[in-house]
């Protein structure tokens, strides 16, 4: 059962399965290294709840919840 990245609990890691769509958001997510098979770890939300912070490929990335929802993961 694939989950989306916005559901990943803080501090936990998961494997990326796919990025949905082929629009600007999808392309940007792919360019930033969110490709299938890659590990991603959640570092939690911003103080106001959105956006979220992640660690992927050894660097830190901020995504809005709507954008994280585009990324399918397997915990």
């Amino acid at each position: 059962m694939p989950q989306t990245l916005d559901q990943l609990p803080e501090g936990q890691a998961a494997t990326i399965l796919d990025v949905e769509g082929d629009d600007a958001v999808a392309v940007r997510l792919l360019e930033m290294g969110l490709t299938d098979g890659e590990l991603i770890r959640s570092l939690g939300p911003a103080p106001l709840g959105d956006p979220l912070e992640f660690e992927v490929r050894g660097y830190r990335l901020s995504l809005r919840i709507v954008e994280a929802r585009r990324v399918l993961i397997r915990p």
């Binding site: 990025v19 392309v27 997510l29 290294g33 911003a46 709840g49 912070e53 830190r60 809005r64």
Partner: protein
């Protein structure tokens, strides 16, 4: 013939730092034609053959989605005519984050240009335990690889040498990351494209066209409708075949290039598997903490705001003092006349009107450069994004908009940090709605005149304070509404992505901060400054011509010729007043020994009083003459082009409760809205030396009458003027800065039109409602 070398890299890799270090401060700054992208070209210092370095905007990839993003690709392919053929490319990578940075490197190597790969922030990577076998990497890529630490100015000489020898070394090995099916599809597409009269397209662009779904090359490339249709069909078919072959576009690019990056780096670098928690991580936990993070952010923003609003004040005072000194010097050298008026009221005022912004610009960019260089600016955007996204803006809009409360000009210049074009334009368009410090004189004048300071809930001045607060709230509310409307209209399309890297914290480098501040101040003076200056001259001419100033000049000449006599009389008057004060004190304290002395004192007092009256009578003609000149000026302004325009628009401003004098005052304040107080002074014949707390101006405004004897001013008119000035675009400097930042007259025109309409409507509603309650 100098070599042309382009420099490209991800954001936050220290690209600008390296650019500045290589070229020094002698940089030509301009815009690429037709786009908002800034063009920076500098000559590299100390090389045998001259080399021009072209700075390209920081980017994560070379997949153009808009004309702005196409610029970098065009420069690199030698298709940008104003730059010419690029001989080599320098690709800056963050050595501590190599895998992600290799994505762009892979695309750059695909261009087939002589390339230099720079591993910047090498010191940071080393402390993190990253080991890179540079000779092996260089061999594998077939290009020179140089390690640098730009912050410490390490590795710069090696980099210069590498750039100088890049061209003879030739291009590197093409990465060739895609499966063969992809290349054969590209080949087919290229021949198809040649049939559609694009035989010149390099294979790189054909690959891009196939990969970038909805990208620039797919939608904008072919002008001919028929060809464009065939082209799109060919693209869609090719993509479908690729998908069936298991190479779905666009995902295939990221997959292929990242696989190439991993494979290339695997044998050459060792990256510690378990990343130890760094100081940066610990700092981040505090700075993005739910409470502490927001508190620190708020304190920082207060400091930044205070700096621009108050600390820049003395520096601006010096600018103004310099301006009046320069005017005084010109006046002492030239007789009254058109030339003197042009120089003092046009040229000196115009130059002053440019320089006066420099302290605020310098102050804001000092903070922005510090925050950006240490990595905090991205966190500020991370903290504020939720609030700003509600209005179609993003987290990076916050600092520009907040600082626009001091002055919109540095605020608009600070929108450069917003990568998304639509969010940046929306921020630029609403920034001038924030109540800047130039609105304060207008608010102060009318609030102190017409809002009662009687206590409200026991607080003295509470009504006045509330009115001032309402003016600030009005600006913010209007900005939120306009931004929301813009998102639904002009910038209507999918929500722009806000995918942002949060770089590691580091110590800011003083010389980077300095060069950033210098860079912005120079850009403002040379690009926006000239336009602001031109606007000041045009408005001067509009208020000077076509009236006949000969009488005014003659009178002014007489006044100035008699200046020594007048100052002598003033001195005598002052002495006499002082003497009289002393005598009056003795009388009131009865400070005498006997009756004779008392009589002497009384006699002396009487004669001093007579003397004072005589002096006053002698001074009277001088004052009358000044009044006369002021009145002449007032009527000359009335007869000028702008005065004529003011009369013409009286029917338009009348529903706001304004007479033609307020109308002309507003027109005259186009260069800068704070001038309205001075301009009202001129129009009311009080001269140009009045300010918002001038008692004479206050009484004139209170007593101003319509021809039928009704008073012009009252609370409704005062409110309508304040509301108008809160929302209007009466600031040539802001409009010219927008022109410069967007590289188009369209956006300043849009800003001026919508703000003026909004200001008019809001003032109309305010007045019409206020006179009915």
């Amino acid at each position: 013939m100098p070599l042309t070398v382009a420099i490209i890299g991800n954001p936050n890799t220290g690209k600008s730092t390296l650019f500045n270090a290589l070229t020094g401060l002698q940089v030509r700054v301009g815009n690429f034609p037709g786009v908002t992208v800034e063009k920076k070209i500098g000559r590299i210092k100390g090389t045998a053959q001259p080399i021009d370095l072209v700075d390209l905007p920081g980017t994560y990839s070379l997949s153009p989605r808009s004309l702005d993003e196409m610029v970098s690709v065009n420069v690199l392919l030698g298709r940008q005519t104003d730059v010419g053929k690029v001989d080599a490319v320098v690709c800056i990578l963050d050595a501590s984050n190599l895998e992600r940075n290799f994505y762009l490197a892979c695309q750059v190597l695909d261009l087939g240009l002589p390339t230099v790969i720079v591993l910047n922030m090498f010191d940071v990577a080393s402390t993190r335990g990253v080991r890179i076998d540079i000779p092996a990497l260089s061999k594998k890529l077939g290009v020179q690889v140089v390690a640098t630490s730009a912050h410490r100015k390490e590795g710069l000489d090696a980099l210069k040498a590498a750039i100088a020898s890049a061209v003879p070394n030739g291009p590197g090995t093409r990465p060739h990351p895609f499966p063969e099916t992809f290349y054969s599809e590209c080949h087919q597409l290229a021949s198809k494209l040649a049939g559609l009269c694009r035989s010149d397209a390099p294979s790189f662009l054909v690959e891009r066209a196939l990969l970038d779904v909805g990208g620039y090359l797919e939608t904008e490339w072919l002008d001919d409708d028929n060809a464009a249709e065939q082209w799109r069909t060919a693209l869609v078919e090719a993509r479908t075949r690729l998908k069936d072959a298991g190479c779905r576009v666009p995902a295939i690019e990221a997959k292929a290039r990242y696989a190439w990056a991993k494979q290339t780096l695997a044998e050459i670098t060792t990256i510690p598997s378990a990343r130890a928690e760094t100081l940066s991580d610990r700092m981040d936990r505090v700075l993005t903490h739910r409470f502490a993070g927001l508190l620190i952010f708020a304190v920082l923003m207060v400091v930044v705001f205070q700096a621009i609003f108050s600390w820049a004040e003395p520096l601006m005072g010096w600018c103004e003092a310099g301006q009046s000194a320069a005017s005084g010097f010109v006046a002492s050298q030239l007789p009254p006349g058109t030339l003197r008026s042009l120089l003092t009221d046009g040229v000196v005022a115009g130059v002053g009107g440019v320089l006066v912004f420099l302290p605020q610009i310098g102050m804001l960019f000092l903070f922005i450069a510090l925050l950006e260089d240490c990595g905090y600016l991205a966190r500020a955007a991370f903290l504020m994004d939720k609030v700003m996204s509600k209005f179609g803006l993003n987290g990076k809009s916050f600092v520009p908009l907040m600082t626009s409360h001091a002055c919109a000009i540095p605020g608009i210049m600070a929108t450069r940090v917003i990568e998304d074009r639509r969010a940046r334009l929306a921020t630029i368009l609403v920034a001038p709605l924030m109540s800047c410090s130039a609105r304060l004189p207008v608010y102060t004048l009318f609030i102190s005149l017409f809002v009662s300071d009687s206590p409200l809930l026991g607080l003295r001045g509470a009504r006045q304070g509330l009115t001032l607060f309402a003016m600030y709230a009005l600006g913010i509310t209007a900005a939120a509404l306009v931004a929301a409307v813009l998102r639904k209209t002009i910038f209507h399309s999918e929500t722009p992505p806000f995918v942002m890297e949060l770089p590691a914290y580091k110590w800011p480098s003083p010389w980077i901060v300095f060069s950033r501040v210098w860079d912005r101040m120079m850009a403002f003076v040379t690009r926006a400054g000239t336009l602001i200056f031109a606007a000041a001259i045009v408005v001067w001419a509009g208020s000077f011509f076509p009236g006949d100033h000969s009488q005014e000049f003659e009178k002014q000449r007489l006044i100035e010729a008699a200046e020594p006599i007048k100052s002598d009389l003033l001195l005598q008057e002052a002495r006499t007043v002082e003497a009289l004060d002393k005598l009056n004190q003795r009388i009131s304290h009865a400070a005498w020994e006997n009756a004779t002395e008392r009589d002497d004192i009384l006699k002396l007092t009487a004669s001093t009083q007579t003397e004072l009256a005589k002096l006053k009578a002698k001074l009277k003609p001088f004052e009358d003459a000044s009044d006369e000149v002021n009145h002449m000026r007032a009527s000359l302004v009335e007869q000028s082009f702008l005065g004529w325009l003011g009369h013409l628009i009286e029917p338009i401003v009348k529903p706001l409760g304004w007479d033609w004098k307020i109308g002309v005052g507003t027109l005259l304040s186009f260069p800068a809205r704070e001038l309205v107080v001075t301009n009202l002074g001129i129009i009311y014949g009080l001269g140009q030396d009045v300010d918002e707390s001038d008692q004479q101006l206050w009484s004139t405004i209170r007593e101003a009458k319509w021809p039928d004897g009704r008073p012009v001013y009252g609370v409704p008119v005062a409110l309508s003027i304040m509301v108008f000035f809160s929302l209007c675009a009466q600031c040539a400097a802001t409009l010219m800065t927008i022109r410069r930042e967007t590289n188009s007259w369209r956006w300043p025109l849009v800003t001026f039109s919508y703000m003026t309409s909004l200001a008019y409507l809001a003032a109309l509603v305010t007045y019409q409602v206020a006179i009915r309650i």
